[in-house]
Amino acid sequence: MSVAVGRTSPRAQLGTQAPRIILGILGLVVVVWLAIKASQGGTTFIQVTLNGITTAALYFVVAAGFTLIFGLMRVVNMAHGSLYLFGGYVAYIAQTHWFGGGGSQFSLGGASTTSIAGFFVPLAFATLVIGLVGLGIQQLLLRWNQGQDLRQALITIAVSVIFADQMVAHYGGIVQSIQQPTSWPNSITIGALRYGFFRITVVLGSAIVIGVLLYLLFKHTRFGMTIRAGVDDRAMLSALGVNVQLVFAGAFFLGAMLAGFGGVLGGTMISVGPGLDTQFLLDALIVVIIGGMGSLVGAAIGALLLGLVQSYSAIYLHFGSLDLSNYGVMTSFILVIAVLAVRPLGLFGRAA
């Protein structure tokens, strides 16, 4: 594969212009369409855009872990969605058992109150647990298959199958949600706009903090330097006396922790239930396919594109009396095709 990825076919060089022109026109149409919609209802437009951005923030947290693991180890962690969902469940269980909070999505909180610690302790606990679970998967199953990327992908697929079934067995099919602290407001008001407090502060805030921290970690710490060196030349790094296995373990632990952290955020912002593992695996896949595997900036841009496209197409796919909003999934599909047509390795992807 290492030979194959970098090359492009003769046709790709010859025919790059046609897709670019088509995409340019398509992008222009979308922008004009959104501008018309924005002029018709400014508040709604801002709300929809904020929905897109906060969803993108969650996607970024999940996809950053995915792309981190891939970037260093060439492991496509197909169990990433399972780790995400398991993180949500661990936090939910911890919250219900230790703090008596939690509850069905449809019971409006009622008698139970959630303290600040009642949210953050389960969050930290679940993040740590998922990090350790990921580390276990890496040490027990993946470590001795290093370099066989397809086999590792199959192993993680097997793990995700087992996880999905066991989570249904233990936690059932009912959709739950993790409670945010009761003392926090449900929404905040900015001018004429009311928006969900948790989404815009906690989710968006932690995505930005995580993004910045990961950037600093990569660019300005020894660990980050080692990771980047490992991406470029693993054998050389090892020859220089760095314990590559330790770096791998650390990166996998970190990547899994991000999945678990995202699971708790998602479990609070949306819900925890069967099928979300697949949903978020797909989202993480799309984000990194668009953004380019292994690129942190790519993950951010990809998450933003996907979040916005999903959010706009959920609301704005009405053309007069024609309601196409249940074709919303097609827009993400078109987004992926559009990016791959121009850049087969994603926007910020580079050859292995």
Partner: protein, 383 residues
């Protein structure tokens, strides 16, 4: 589906290992032909017929992997497209879901296959410039797109699926007379197997294998790499669409749930359990899958919530994990090793074959056909 057609001795009459091989092949053939007389209705339908159409779905993946180096997870999506396209245009008896255009079943078959192959060509064109693990991810994303599409667009998928899809008259009642469908699946399996065996020997198939081994070199030689890969993907889509038609006839319905990620992974599991190194592995894997399915639901001991008869997915996941960890070449690989032990004396013409057993590709290479060995990323260290 014995695997002995390629034993080194080509002389006739066959002797030694070759004779044993032909005998096994003949026995399997007789059993398959006389299956309706040997097995009861349940076995014929739920085990054998199901294994045959699942095998066709899986062999499309095995073919793409083995000869094109493409691990496609979109095969279930494509058979779903064929099934849904057919289900929408043919008459559905209680008009439950779908467009119900009232076409004849055979016209529906043609339509379903054509739609699936065209979309397969599109998918192939999208994915054909990606390799290895990227290809796997992109096809998985495509597969999930198709699943969510049919889940959301209820005009095309009905609410909870298209039920009572009408079938050609000769198939009769699926419960009391499963043998017409069984023979249809058997015939399709043999035809698909022969078609794929033929295709890999054509100039197209040889070029495809060259591309699998070294796309850069093939491109320098003037081959259109992306086109070859896209066309191979379309051929895989054709095979998968046959499985889609048969699955709808088998289940008499299709719903978004029949093409979800569990089914996508099931077909992958079947192909891997059977062994990706030979086309026959697909059917062997499908038979194993159907048997595990049947026995797991009956005889699984109960260990609290962790393990009980409802935990089929856990069991198949563990089997899959063990196969991937211990025998990446699947049951075929295990069989090959046993075969090498049994017929060691008869295979002296090929020194070192038995010793090289851990890497199945090496064992299974037909001398002279391919110089550089198996698909790009299985069981081999890569830099």
């Amino acid at each position: 589906m014995s695997t002995v057609a390629n034993t080194p001795t080509r002389s006739w009459p066959p002797r030694g290992a070759a004779l044993l091989g032909w005998a096994v092949l003949a026995a399997v053939g007789v059993v398959l032909l006389l299956a309706p007389l040997i097995f009861d209705l349940f076995w014929l339908s739920q085990i054998l017929t199901q294994a045959l159409w699942l095998g066709i779905a899986a062999v499309s993946l095995t073919f793409l992997y083995r000869y094109g180096g493409m691990t496609s997870l979109a095969q279930v999506a494509i058979y779903g497209i064929a099934g849904f396209a057919m289900g929408n245009v043919v008459h559905t008896i209680n008009s439950e879901g779908g467009l119900n255009l009232g076409w004849t079943p055979w016209l529906g078959v043609v339509f379903g296959i054509v739609v699936a192959v065209l979309l397969g060509l599109l998918f192939g064109a999208i994915a054909s410039r990606s390799y290895g693990i990227y290809f796997l991810m992109i096809t998985l994303a495509l597969s999930l797109f198709v699943f969510y599409f049919f889940g959301q667009v209820t005009q095309l998928s009905g609410f909870g699926g298209i039920r009572s899809v009408s079938r050609p008259g000769y198939l009769g009642d699926p419960i009391t007379h499963p043998s017409p469908l069984y023979y249809t699946c058997l015939g399709c399996s043999v035809a698909v197997y022969l078609l794929l065996r033929y295709m890999v020997r054509t100039p197209f198939g040889i070029a495809l294998q060259g591309i699998r081994d070294d796309p850069g070199r093939m491109s320098s030689l003037g081959y259109h790499v992306a086109l070859h890969r896209a066309l191979a993907f379309a051929l895989g889509a054709f095979v998968a669409s046959i499985a889609g038609v048969l699955s709808v006839w088998f289940n008499t319905q299709i719903s978004p749930g029949s093409i979800n990620i569990q089914q996508t992974i099931a077909v992958l599991i079947i192909a891997v359990i059977g062994g990706l190194s030979r086309l026959e592995g697909a059917w062997i894997g499908a038979l194993a899958y159907a048997l595990i399915d049947y026995y797991a639901r009956q005889h699984t001991p109960t260990l609290g919530l962790w393990l009980n008869p409802g935990r089929f997915a856990t069991i198949i996941g563990v089997v899959f994990l063990l196969i991937v960890l211990l025998s990446p070449d699947g049951l075929i690989g295990i069989g090959t090793r046993v075969w090498a032990l049994v017929t060691r004396r008869g295979r002296e013409a090929e020194p070192g074959t038995a010793a090289a057993a851990p890497t199945a590709e090496a064992t299974l290479e037909k001398a002279g056909t391919m110089a550089t060995g198996g698909p790009p990323s299985s069981g081999r260290q890569e830099a």
